[in-house]
Subunit: 346 residues, 2 copies
Amino acid sequence: MRAATYQGPGEITVEDVPKPEVESPEDAVIRVTHTAVCGSDLWFYRGESDREEGSRVGHEPMGIVEEVGDDVTSVEPGDRVLAPFAISCGECEFCRKGLYTSCVKDESWSGENGGGQGEYVKCPHADGTLVRVPDRYADDEDTLESLLPLTDVMGTGHHAAVSAGVGEGDTAVVIGDGAVGLCGVLAAQRLGAERVIAMGHHEERLELAEEFGATDTIAARGDEAIERARELTHGGANHVMECVGAASAMDTAIAIARPGGTVGYVGVPYGVTEEGLDVFTMFSDNITLNGGVAPVRAYAEELMDDVLQGTLDPSPIFTKTVGLDDIDEGYRAMDEREAIKVLVKP
Amino acid sequence: MRAATYQGPGEITVEDVPKPEVESPEDAVIRVTHTAVCGSDLWFYRGESDREEGSRVGHEPMGIVEEVGDDVTSVEPGDRVLAPFAISCGECEFCRKGLYTSCVKDESWSGENGGGQGEYVKCPHADGTLVRVPDRYADDEDTLESLLPLTDVMGTGHHAAVSAGVGEGDTAVVIGDGAVGLCGVLAAQRLGAERVIAMGHHEERLELAEEFGATDTIAARGDEAIERARELTHGGANHVMECVGAASAMDTAIAIARPGGTVGYVGVPYGVTEEGLDVFTMFSDNITLNGGVAPVRAYAEELMDDVLQGTLDPSPIFTKTVGLDDIDEGYRAMDEREAIKVLVKP
């Protein structure tokens, strides 16, 4: 089969690799019909994180179940499924309490599972991981493209909103106008926020934020952005969603939070250890820091319900679509910020 | 009147200073009968934080109201009162939601209010700040000594427990065997924790922790302490109370937290900015960081109820009592860890 592989910074090639097969009775093999390039894929693409050369990449697969192991009961061949970026057994303490990203099995899509950007993937712990799309919607292309973000960014934006404690009538500030930030705007308005203030650097992405429900936008950086957000919230927001994953964005989030408020963060906090976190402001203002890597499996059903009912549609974040053979062009477009998020159809 | 003043690192002297007087209609002047030396007083005593030479010190006063301004309605001359370390108006947004430490008036005991370690203090915003001790208990020395910690350390230990989300049947780890940590043990068991694991370095303080309700103690540092705590909690605690206020203690707290758990912290996080916080572990394990400077005014009534009923008694933390003229000896004893906390009777 064909699969995208990492060959070093800036270099993604599509190679012939062994097709994964069912090995354990809990496995399922999926023919991937839709997948995506993730902002987090850019870390190794840019050489900012280490990755083994030749390794298969991707972690947001959707497709058709081709084969299942003997113990798999929740899906069968022919079913349309999507899979969260984190594999989960569904049975351990952490899966049972909804913290699927802390599953004790600690499996990932990479390695011999085949990556998520290829023709097939093997899903270990299929019953604990896969989300079945109801048959009625299983071949509706528009619906599938709206569901695909549930594998990662929509669940992650939702986790930011949940972690920030966003609820009915609240005012939330969303930092970041990437795919996660935009999904965060959708999530905040979906949870009933009265005001959603989107902060970013790209006019056209902030326009999409407005389409997604942002009531205000701030196109500024650093102190100017902080000042504007504090002005709009009359002194700081009780709910701040950090959807960038950078030390500067975390500092901005803390500076924008109202005393007693909560920062919900979902981006890997690159640079924070080096530069330090403004713990003194957090301390004196009793600001809570909540969140982490999003257990998107926990949110899949409720978000899918809304997508299927037509009340939630994150698909506009896919501003470019490529075939598997052109996936390098997808990486390039995201790296150069030409595309918000790239849909890949193997 | 006589009042303790800071004269430079290691030097506290008692000087004749002007007695404070009611100036605003919201003021009260209190004759101080009981006060204390705080662990946070040691920062300037040790030269670790800046403080103006000649400034009056202290922030945990209890005493008898001597005079009140025209607008004060909650207390009158002759009343026994205690005052939290933070002055609060009781009327602003933050006071109304219980976050008294973020009061917009931003007043403190130092300066012309007279400090808390002297014969008299002036309390601005008396109605929003002072806690009246019921007459029946107003002259009972044992009760007063049990109530005095509500001005700071008992409320702070309670804030750590509340911030860490400690509830009935929980297991909590309390890091720190100083006055705040010991009060944290009392608070955790009071909130219904089934297991309270106290961690510290001093055998006799850990014995007091056991008297206060600790079910287990860990007398170790660094990796050994972390390993032992993870062992006792079968992989990490859902509720960790950081009652030290140091980068190393914060790191220990994060390392001990179970995935999805909460660290409640109440100590000024000295050193954290320089050394950085382990945000990566927090991120991958979805560990919440909650807490900050304790709004002890919010907790005064409920804690006082328990003290007056005899079900809560933090007074054993006072292992030394001095008169005002010997307060320098109190500072020395706390600095050298001879005393857990020093009671001062002006």
